[in-house]
């Protein structure tokens, strides 16, 4: 098991290096430069600033400096925000994004499993039809539409209760998080619902379910002890990629709900070609996802004994 984790960590490091390099190259291929947005400036001022940020050096030299600093865990200072370290930006704003993401993921997973199991139990009856119809909508409508619908919903809800129970935007309390997390998790929830449904249906006709029925096991116990655990396996496999979907989806939701998460800074940085912030956040997100996928893989081993043994043998 330890060997397995070490192997995965090593391949993770290579992945992150690749992400960093690709982002670096891609960024420098974008026309324009970080100073293009600033007001007209004298050539010598421009040269001064370029020297200060290392932009006067050849690109491969910049790459070397960047990589060296990254190894030390230093992502440099922002180009557009005065005297702000990228590390500080991540430290201050990532926890917000992470909290939102975790909530969204919990909602998506729990919802996906429950709805998926329900549709399988009520297969071809009206609850199945209704849920699957909603699932198609949730998968196909982009999250910014849901984000705005969510805000409208909050307004309507507050009107109905006659008090400002749910804030429309901003950050701070649990009530701030609820609707954004729901919106953020919606697409993933719909996807997991479909997956869970087909997985449940497959398991329902499995031989070992017939064996359990022949043993005289009650339907409820069959559902929880025999079906659910086997049906959840494929759902767990896609949790890793789902985390990616949720974190990237978070950018939009954070913008609409004015949540001070990392996503907002990321989008701003791309618009302003803030090299260091783009690099820092991209590499950070990359590393985060690599770790998350690894965690999911280890988790999978706890649920499926077959994987566990294969891993310890590896």
């Amino acid at each position: 098991m330890i060997e397995f984790i070490l192997k995965r960590l090593l391949s993770g490091v290579i992945t992150i290096w690749f992400i960093a390099t690709a982002t670096f190259v891609g960024m420098h291929m974008v026309p324009g430069d970080p100073l293009a947005n600033a007001k007209a400036m004298k050539p010598e001022i421009r040269r001064n600033i370029e020297a200060r940020y290392g932009l006067d050096k050849p690109v491969w030299h910049q790459y070397g400096i960047f990589m060296g600093n990254m190894l030390k865990g230093d992502f440099g200072i922002s180009f557009t925000q005065k005297n702000r370290h990228v590390n500080d930006i991540i430290r201050e704003h990532f926890p917000v994004s992470a909290l939102l993401g975790v909530m969204a993921l919990v909602i998506a997973t729990a919802g996906g499993i429950v709805w998926g199991a329900l549709t399988a139990v009520y297969r071809d009856r009206w609850p199945d039809g209704v849920i699957m119809f909603l699932v198609v909508i949730a998968v196909s409508v982009p999250s910014f539409v849901f984000a705005m619908l969510g805000q409208l919903g909050i307004l309507a809800f507050n009107d109905l209760v006659g008090a400002s129970l749910l804030p429309v935007a901003g950050w701070g309390t649990f009530s701030h998080m609820l609707v954004p997390a729901l919106v953020l998790g919606l697409g993933t929830m719909a996807y997991l619902t479909r997956l869970m449904r087909s997985s449940m249906l497959e398991v329902t006709s499995a031989d070992y379910i017939r064996t359990a029925r022949a043993k005289g096991v009650s339907p409820l116990r069959i559902f929880f002890k025999h079906q659910l655990r086997n049906a959840i396996l494929p759902v767990i496999t896609v949790l890793g990629p789902s985390i990616a979907a949720i974190t990237t989806g978070g950018f939009v939701v954070e913008l609409v709900f004015a949540i001070p998460g990392l996503g907002r800074y990321f989008v701003q940085a791309v618009q302003q070609l803030d090299y260091t912030v783009i690099m820092g956040t991209t590499v950070f997100y990359g590393a985060f996802l690599v770790v998350m996928v690894l965690v999911v893989d280890i988790l999978y081993g706890f649920i499926d004994p077959r994987i566990r043994v294969a891993k310890s043998a590896a």
């Binding site: 070992y208 064996t211 029925r213 043993k215 005289g216 009650s218 116990r221 004994p305």
Partner: protein
Amino acid sequence: MSDNNIIEQHKAPALDVRDLQVEFDAQGGVVKAVRGVSFSVNPGETLGIVGESGCGKSVTMMSVMGLIPMPPGRIVGGSAKLNGRELLGLPLRELNNIRGAEIGMVFQDPMSALNPTMRIGEQIAETLMIHRGIGKTEALKRAVELLERTKIPEAAKRARQYPFEFSGGMLQRAVIAMSLACNPSVLIADEPTTALDVTIQNQVLELMREIQREEGMAIVLITHDLGVVARMADHVTVMYAGQVVESGTVDDIFYRSAHPYTLGLKEAMPSAEMHVEQKLTAIAGSPPDLFAPPAGCGYCNRCNHALNICDKLGPELIAVGEGHHSRCWLQHAQAKREVAELYQGSKRAC
């Protein structure tokens, strides 16, 4: 209860199925999968049910166990009595008290018959916990004993393993251990050895026989392997197109076959004396479409001995000997008489 009664009960069949009819709704019509099947099996005896794939032998036993999906399945008529108690139409709660406790079931493919995410011991213990109401620790201990009983080495260690860590033969032993956990009076084995290779097959059959000798339970053995039937069964029921075409003792079926289909099955069996170049004999044609069962005998299109009547009217089961029945017009008194007359006529013409 008087002594007389106990003796009476002992003589009564453990499982008695009468005129069972099962249908399935399918796209394009209704499949009449089982068309009036009757058989019974006494305690301590083994009944072999043989027939080719799709003849309804598995559906029959699944219906008795209440395991066919309903809908699309439907039990149209008949009865199935376990020790005198009607099983068909029992509410699920009561049926669940019987399944696993009084009837055990062993399935064809042991590789997929066990839950892949549950330890073997737990799966056996589950039966005990449900029916005997004992705690988990106690049930697990009993599970290990059951595994030992089915001759699984290092049973205590094996009980903590998962199905994928077992070989096919070991798994089938575990399934047998599971089905025997509550000492059922009937064990239904649905092609228990089809998925196993011959040496393992032998061991599993031997094990079933041995346990039957000790426990005295009745076994219903569903198979399409006549070799297995010859070895294991006391009585045999041959099924074809959802009906019983011949039934009798194992000697009746093998030495005094009274139905062309049984003869066909016997001829199709490869024998040890065959030459390498010799082709295997097969019964030409295929079984009738059960969407629209034929008015006459289902076998007559493939039968070498078909009479004019066979196409128009299906025969009933005709007694051929003591406890030996055949669903064939050739066994009818009139047919026998006419054949005899024909025979004599041809002799006169000579």
